[in-house]
């Protein structure tokens, strides 16, 4: 029987966790209780003696200095209400897993199958709480009903002898493995019903392609001989649905687009991906010739570029939006540990060196109703931040760069971008590290975690809008430790040359990973019954497509199999031989020796019909607003600094370990008090070299409401100007595009599909134009195309958003420059011209206006400027450099000044402008490609000589006194603010989150 070991704090010990919960409950739900305490519960479902239980409670489960424990008796007392929250059966319980391992060490024997430890937490609440409030606290704050369950007990109901009744979260299933055959020779309506009800997310065209495949006479004959039957099996249909999902196949980016521009010109674009993304990179590589930095683009899990002679750089950015909408913590955690596997599984494997994260949320201070099935943005914020915190910190990977973008439409779907970079030996066992290939006869080996029902239909789920029937199984909880052990093991296996190819199990699970690797050999034979399961009762199709985390698939030559498996076992990692890579031409799965899937490789990989999408561009009719000239620009500036998109994110940044691996040379926070906003991090990943990695990003969804072409151009420029601001080499940089769109396919659900598709085309055109102009090859990317919410009459579509990330090199990290002003007397320069471009600006947004004059990017001028800046850094002419983005010059001046702790006196009359502009427009315009630079007077001549051909002006000086003083174009003082006031305005907004 199961026993409960209850662990609580001794009297007088501060319950910091309880206090944190109390504080957050007040912030989240506005419920202010006098006291909340916490108690840990371990439900041990294993055959242990009383003495062993006692030893467990005393040893690994409790801390004798601060905790006491009870076994099968309650510890809870002096509360008004108790809420115990535990996981639902089958949900990953990391603490439970660790507890089980600890017990095994303690008692010196392994648990029997089915034996386990389950954990839950008791919250002891004091105060007046009625039952409705209790339910609300449990449902909307402490627990998430998709993955957790809870018991609510009042003090009066509480059984003082036995406590909360024991419940064991064991998965019970009496289901026998069964393979179903599916009749596809049915009418169109029935086909679509099958797709919808089975979460297949396939459209009619695709269903009919499968129908035709299944109806082929010769094929039926062969299948009958093989004993699988004429009709397709559930395994086959599911495998096709996952492989053909928007998530895996990027059907919208591969579609034929019938595009009509504003002038009425019609154009057919055969694949946005091939035309604009692959096309741009091919053109750039051709132009760069010998200086081409790309090593592996688009074909692997992540992109690879050159770094040093001995090492290559790997980078990938992913999104994990849909799962994060349902369970922010689990979704984000899975997002970060999931993207870790991409660079790790690139080429022959790479060591992870940093994470990046960018979130798009609605305001955490959102007031008003929350549509059904959505969570409050504050809860999303907290959960996502915590998920990325645990995923990154526990894995020992520094989180070095990120941002948070706010827009009310992200209420419908938050965007959670997670990126990971890695370092790969340029050659491994004499071969290029970025190349790999499975060979015929290699064993299919799965390693890492086990397979459960978690993550079934993740790929198809994220290929749809969030709707009422969105499955809870798509939500998972990542397990960084299982993954860390696996990575430790695989790096050793890699260096010993024990495998030929590696890839991760992400969307589509084994079906995708094995299916993709088998393209090297032209077939495979996979025995599903050999796969290790978390619990019994999975159907063969579930084993095939489960997206259970922390798994990699490898191609291991038979001669190394024994050594590979032995090494895994020694390092506490599971590795299982599941079959063989063949050249049969068939995707072949078996269960207990019986064939359950037998599809032609060519059909599964190439058979998906190309979509045709109409797109029609009509510029929105917008006006330039007339905003009254502010009387008090000091308060306007403070307001702007405190806005969500501008304000300090320090409370989030500090929760991420940004220094583990001891390589973060420019940290996310910088300046005299370590709290100014860095433009980007500089990493020195090799201890024996000063070569640096720089990564930055650009993201400007607000501009999409005017024109996605400008949005894309500005995102690219923003990433690059941040990149050069810290010292990145503009000739050694690559880009990654991550598109998050709302559904752009014209349909009943999406009547404005033609416009959204045209927005997509324009963003891609800009992507091509600017990457080519800047000479920045794209090496990897991802798209997430169904970021809509549709339940009942409510539809929320996110603004079209592209995260443009860059990664590149700097020769010597000691040349890096930070954004904080350094010393009084330094001269302040503004590089670049300011135009009346407030369309989509933060300043207009503050006035609830959009405007129309969106910033235009002049790539050739910008590129020349960025190259000159590189030269200025080589000569160490620059003391500080900060990019101008949200909030324009005004915000950049304030940030540089308060980060450095010195004031500035600035003369707006000196600022190079295009035409006539009001002072407020000049201060807050977001014209692209501008940088604020400070220079020591001794470097003045050389600096001005270097930038003589550019639009550059000395606009003021750094001063000893702690004030920002700005003279308007007419000469009068228009801003005179104490740095402390500006900084307080900038820091206050999110300080408590």
């Amino acid at each position: 029987m199961a026993n409960r070991i209850i662990v609580g704090l001794k009297p007088g010990v501060r319950d910091a966790r309880g206090e944190r919960v109390r504080e957050e409950l007040r912030l989240h739900l506005g419920i202010d209780l006098p006291r909340i305490r916490t108690i840990d519960v371990y439900t041990v479902d294993a055959d242990l003696s009383d003495a062993e239980l006692e030893a467990a409670a005393q040893g690994p489960f409790s801390d004798p200095v601060i905790q006491n424990f009870a076994i099968n008796n309650p510890l809870a007392c002096d509360f008004d209400l108790l809420i115990e929250v535990g996981f639902r059966p089958g949900v990953t319980d990391n603490v439970g897993r660790t507890a089980k391992e600890a017990l095994q060490y303690l008692v010196g024997r392994k648990f029997a199958p089915g034996e386990a430890v389950y954990t839950s937490t008791q919250y002891l609440l004091n105060g007046e709480i009625n039952s409705a409030m209790a339910e609300r606290i449990a449902r909307d704050f402490l627990g998430n009903e998709l993955i957790q369950r809870w018991t609510i007990v009042s003090a009066a109901e509480f059984d003082r002898d036995r406590g909360v009744p024991t419940s064991v979260a064991r998965v019970t299933s009496s289901a026998e493995p069964r393979v179903q055959n599916i009749d596809l020779q049915i009418d169109d309506d029935a086909l679509m019903a099958l797709s919808r009800d089975g979460m297949l997310a396939l459209n009619l065209l695709e269903m009919k392609a499968i129908q035709a495949y299944a109806a082929d006479e010769a094929r039926i004959g062969r299948r009958t001989e093989l004993g699988i039957g004429a009709q397709l099996t559930d395994c086959e249909l599911e495998a096709l649905a996952q492989t053909w999902s928007e998530h895996c196949k990027h059907k919208i980016f591969a579609a034929k687009i019938d595009y009509l521009d504003a002038e009425g010109n019609r154009q057919t674009i055969d694949s946005l991906f091939k035309t604009f993304i692959v096309g741009a990179t091919a053109e750039i590589r051709r132009r760069q010739g010998e200086n081409d930095i790309c090593l592996s683009v688009f074909k692997d899990n992540a992109g690879v570029i050159r770094f040093t002679d001995d090492w290559s750089l790997v980078f990938k950015v992913e999104t994990h939006n849909s799962p994060s909408a349902l369970d922010p913590y689990g979704g984000a955690l899975t997002g970060i540990v999931g993207v870790n596997r991409d660079p790790f599984g690139t080429g022959l494997g790479a060591r992870l060196i940093f994470n990046t994260d960018v979130f798009c949320f609605a305001s955490p201070f959102h007031k008003g109703d929350i549509p059904q099935r959505l969570l409050h943005p504050r809860r999303i914020f907290e959960g996502v931040v915590e998920g990325v915190e645990h995923g990154g910190n526990k894995s020992g990977i520094p989180t070095v760069n990120g941002s948070i973008v706010f827009d009310e439409r992200f209420l419908g779907k938050p965007l959670v971008y997670c990126g990971t970079a890695a370092l790969m030996p340029a050659t491994i066992s004499g071969k290029p590290g970025h190349e790999k290939s499975a060979l015929v006869g290699d064993r299919i080996v799965m390693t890492g975690g086990r397979i459960g029902k978690d993550g079934i239909h993740g790929a198809t789920f994220s290929s749809e809008e969030l709707h009422e029937g969105s499955p809870a199984t798509a939500v998972q909880i990542g397990d960084p430790i299982t993954q860390r052990r696996m990575f430790d093991f695989l790096l050793i296996a890699r260096d010993r040359g024990l495998y030929n190819a590696i890839t991760d199990n992400g969307a589509g699970g084994l079906s995708s990973s094995v299916g993709e690797m088998a393209e090297d050999t032209g077939g495979f034979e996979l025995h599903l019954d050999r796969a290790p399961l978390k619990y019994p009762g999975l159907q063969p199709w579930e084993i095939l497509i489960s997206e259970a985390q922390e798994r990699m698939t490898l191609a291991v030559p038979p001669r190394h199999l024994e050594e590979f498996i032995a090494l895994a076992e020694e390092m506490d990692v599971e590795a299982t031989d599941l079959g063989e890579f063949t050249d049969s031409g068939f995707y072949h799965c078996l269960y207990e020796g019986k064939t359950v899937a037998y599809l032609e490789m060519e059909f599964i990989h190439e058979g998906v019909p190309q979509m045709v999408i109409p797109a029609r561009w009509q510029p929105p009719s917008l006006d330039e607003p007339s905003i009254p000239q502010p009387q008090d620009l000091d308060s306007t500036l403070r307001h702007l600094l405190g806005r969500l998109n501008v304000c300090s994110k320090e409370s989030v940044v500090r929760r991420y370990d940004h220094e583990v691996q001891a390589a973060t040379v420019v940290k996310p926070l910088t300046g005299v008090n370590n709290d100014g906003p860095s433009d980007g991090p500089v990493i020195r990943p090799l201890y024996d070299s000063f070569a640096g990695v720089v990564t930055t990003h650009g993201i400007c969804p607000r501009y999409s409401d005017i024109d996605t072409y400008a949005m894309m151009a500005n995102a690219i420029d923003e990433a690059l100007r941040n990149y050069v601001a810290v010292g990145g080499d503009i000739n050694h940089v690559a880009g990654l595009d991550n598109f998050c769109w709302c559904d752009p396919v014209l349909s009943e659900k999406t009547p404005d599909g033609e416009y959204k598709a045209a927005q997509l085309v324009r963003a891609n055109q800009a992507l091509y134009d600017y990457c080519v102009a800047f000479g920045v090859p794209l090496i990897s990317g991802k798209d997430s195309m169904k970021n809509d919410y549709q339940i009942g009459g409510t539809k929320i579509s996110i603004p079209p958003t592209v995260l443009f990330s860059v990664i590149g090199k700097m020769q010597d990290v000691r040349m890096a420059v930070t954004m904080d002003v350094k010393r009084p007397g330094d001269l302040v320069y503004l590089l670049g011209r300011t135009s009346d471009e407030l369309g989509g600006s933060e300043y207009y947004a503050m006035h609830k206006q959009l405007g129309t004059a969106v910033p235009e990017v002049d790539a050739s001028t910008a590129l020349a400027r960025y190259r000159r800046l590189n030269l200025a850094y080589d000569e160490q002419l620059v003391a500080s450099c900060h990019d101008l983005s949200d909030g324009g010059l005004g915000v950049a001046l304030a940030e540089s000044a308060f980060a450095g702790g010195f004031g500035m006196r600035i003369d707006l009359d000196k600022v190079p402008v295009e035409g006539m502009m009001r002072d407020d427009s000049l201060l807050f315009s977001e014209s692209a490609s501008r940088l604020l630079v400070t220079v020591h007077p001794r470097n003045r001549d050389r600096f001005e000589e270097l930038f003589a051909a550019d639009v550059t002006a000395c606009i003021g000086q750094v001063e000893e006194q702690s004030e920002l003083i700005i003279h308007g174009q007419q000469g009068g003082v228009i801003v005179k603010s104490a740095l402390a006031d500006l900084k307080e305005a900038w820091q206050a907004t999110l300080r408590e989150l």
Binding site: N94, G396, M571
Partner: protein, 274 residues
């Protein structure tokens, strides 16, 4: 034969800082700094005996799932080793041989929870202090000023000026089992490091004291001074460019302050052990 200083850093199960700790050992002059996965030790292929300086590095052993380093301490206590004395026994012997042990962050948590620190009265098994949740209930990465107790027997901080190092933890609040224990630590000079303000006056104020540690304790040693644990990360400041303000403080020396602790350790091994 030249005297060879051999350092070992144990890796695996969520240890994260093994590479930078080994690097710090090498920079400090250790002739060897081996990163050894715990599986190698459990298989008996590597023995602690062969080393002079044992490092428990930072990380999240087993995810800190049962409380920081709890499951890790349990493993070291109970795991058996094929064909060799158990790890617990090897550690005991290592200490008895007068060798050096340093635990940083999760490594400090591990040492405390195994009872290796503070090692009062020669007892290296009884846990009587702990490191628990920061008062603010959150993980934090920030740099801290650290006052060095110059009267401490601690080998690692011997003759060092005050320090500036980053902390990166969620469970760093030092708590002793009772007032008497805390008093003994103070009286015997075992509190080698305290969180402090910019003038290096010990502080209980957040964020100077980032976690609310009793007595502002950031690091303690055993009475011999050869076993030392600290929450701040010395291996994270071994070069000028690790300092958060190196781009503005031009007078920073090339070597970082954290390196000094490793140099003390290596010199001690060379002079007193070899």
């Amino acid at each position: 034969m030249a005297k060879v200083v051999r350092s070992i850093v144990i890796a695996g199960n969520g240890t994260n800082c093994e590479r930078e700790v080994a690097h710090a050992c090498l920079l400090a002059g250790s002739d060897r700094a081996d990163i050894v996965h715990i599986a190698e030790l459990l298989k008996g292929r590597v023995r602690l005996d062969d080393y002079h300086f044992l490092n428990f590095a930072g990380g999240f052993l087993d995810g800190d799932d049962l409380g920081s380093a709890k499951a890790g301490a349990n493993r070291l206590r109970h795991a058996s080793v094929s064909g060799a004395p158990s790890l617990a026994e090897q550690v005991r012997q290592f200490i008895a041989d007068g060798k050096l042990v340093m635990g940083v962050c999760n490594g400090f948590q591990l040492m405390v929870k195994m009872g290796l620190l503070p090692g009062l009265d020669g007892d290296f098994q009884q846990q009587n202090t702990t490191l628990t949740y920061n008062d603010r209930g959150r993980f934090e990465d920030r740099w801290t000023y650290l006052a060095v107790d110059e009267d401490s027997p601690c080998v690692f901080t011997r003759k060092l000026p005050n320090l500036y190092l980053p902390v990166r933890h969620g469970e760093g609040k030092f708590v002793a089992k009772d007032a008497a224990t805390l008093e003994r630590l103070e009286k015997e000079g075992l509190v080698a490091l305290r969180y402090a303000d910019e003038t290096f006056k010990p502080s209980m104020q957040y964020p100077l004291n980032p976690n609310g540690s009793q007595g502002a304790i950031a690091g303690i040693c055993d009475p011999s001074g050869r076993l030392f644990g600290l929450m701040p990360h010395p291996e994270a400041y071994v070069h000028r460019t690790h300092h958060p303000r190196w781009t503005r403080e031009n007078s920073l020396p090339e070597e970082g302050m954290g390196l000094w602790l490793y140099q003390n350790a290596v010199n001690f091994v060379r002079e007193e052990i070899l």
